[in-house]
Point group: C2
Chain length 310, copies 2
Amino acid sequence: MTSVRQQDHHQVPSTNDNCHVPHTIESLEESQIAIVGLGLMGGSLAGGLRHRCRSVVGVARRPDSIAVALERGLIDHGTTSLSEGVSQSNVVVLATPVRVILQQIAEIGPLLPAECLLLDLGSTKTRIVQAMAELPDHVQPLGGHPMCGKEMSGIEAAEPNIYRGATFILTPLPRTSEQALRLGRELVEAVGSRPLVISAERQDFLVGTVSHLPYLMACALVATADATTSTDPAAWKIVAGGYRDTTRVAGSDVTMMTDILLTNRDEVLAAVNVFQRQIDRLAQLVESGDGEQMRDALNQIRQERLRMYP
Amino acid sequence: MTSVRQQDHHQVPSTNDNCHVPHTIESLEESQIAIVGLGLMGGSLAGGLRHRCRSVVGVARRPDSIAVALERGLIDHGTTSLSEGVSQSNVVVLATPVRVILQQIAEIGPLLPAECLLLDLGSTKTRIVQAMAELPDHVQPLGGHPMCGKEMSGIEAAEPNIYRGATFILTPLPRTSEQALRLGRELVEAVGSRPLVISAERQDFLVGTVSHLPYLMACALVATADATTSTDPAAWKIVAGGYRDTTRVAGSDVTMMTDILLTNRDEVLAAVNVFQRQIDRLAQLVESGDGEQMRDALNQIRQERLRMYP
């Protein structure tokens, strides 16, 4: 177990202090926030929140990640002990891969102070919210999913700015209090994101199509080139901007994506199914050689894309 | 017919002059270059070449495009007449959609001076090179395809910088002289691109996978969202960077893309076929729920992507 502290004026309560966290905290400013998982998303969130709350405690398995987070000024205090990190915090954010989040939810309840807000950053929400429903009554659970990121991972890639301007989905449970949801919104807005409150099922349907499907497509494109053109050295010289952008998300963190695909299986497979019908339709147009029909179809798609990104 | 001239010190020969273009021009510097088609690619090329040669003549159907190109300093002289534009030029670049290029190649031969280099910017090359083989003997044909662009089109979007650092494919014919190929390379390098000399068939196979397939994928992704999630207003708020990048090329010029797909049909359909097998394989992994196998497959793809873009 490692416990290190930022060498500055911030005083953070350690587990040896005998002080008590107030049971109802109204504002972010008064909060001690524990971020569990100091990767790209957790590290970036920590940095964005640090000067907007009382203090930020980073919890990570690897002491190296804590050292980097302290050095980069993203956290006030760091520990490898989950219980030490969360026991005095009134906001706890789980920023680990989805299947780890599910395990942590099952274990963390007894460690949390009364009325603690437990938020997570997992990209799929239905199973997480189901697990959150089993938490002890003294915990305030709230599902979360920031719609941002980049293809790099790890604390080295962390930068608070990635949250700026992004939509941050919040999926409250029936048991989530208004006060806890208000604190969740405040946290989201503090890092420059826009909260969007929807149900877990609706979010999983939507991200299945606008996020998980594009990832699988990008992977299939890379695999296609790997199976065909990549043996030709000229192929590497002609990969233009279109291919680079279209395949960018294939560089996403593999552990994170595996967990996402496994925990949103039905929505992802349904989206793949619709996608395959669309590809078949386009391929039939190409095969038919009907220029007029093809133009019309491609133009309709182009207009739709322009509506999405004016 | 419109003929207008840049109000500056550049003297360009008009068809009324009785001067003769030298029959063998060794360098770009001495060349008068006609760019036929003042869209994104033609306009940008004109601007990049203008101060690297004797003069640039822009040929466009619409007087408006010529006016904009002159106003933006992309050309020295402009005309709506193909014969006026090309008859005194020793380099002619066809920068129109592929099916227009095919028509222009069939008509332009008698209008061109002896030893004139006829280059095109069409994205598919096999059919263009076949058409070029039928040109009169006094013409020096050379297929070209710059691997750059953006989703906007038209002279307003033109900027010479788009050629910088891009690979510019050149597909010479057996009849293309060494001198003509040398002049083609010089032109490519003058706008900051890297020439890559390969056969027309090889280029069509490669771009079928790394350029035309990604376009169809992007279109199918947009069509999928249109058919499912787009009816939910929340979908528009959560489209994150991944979706934006993956679908960017679906905003490409529709006339250009229709021509490309129709003239590279067999390669495009073959690429779609391989892609569908890859998608099926990934969907089966998701369905199986085997986390280990999925991780391995996604990791291999991620490594391949990192090799493409280190």
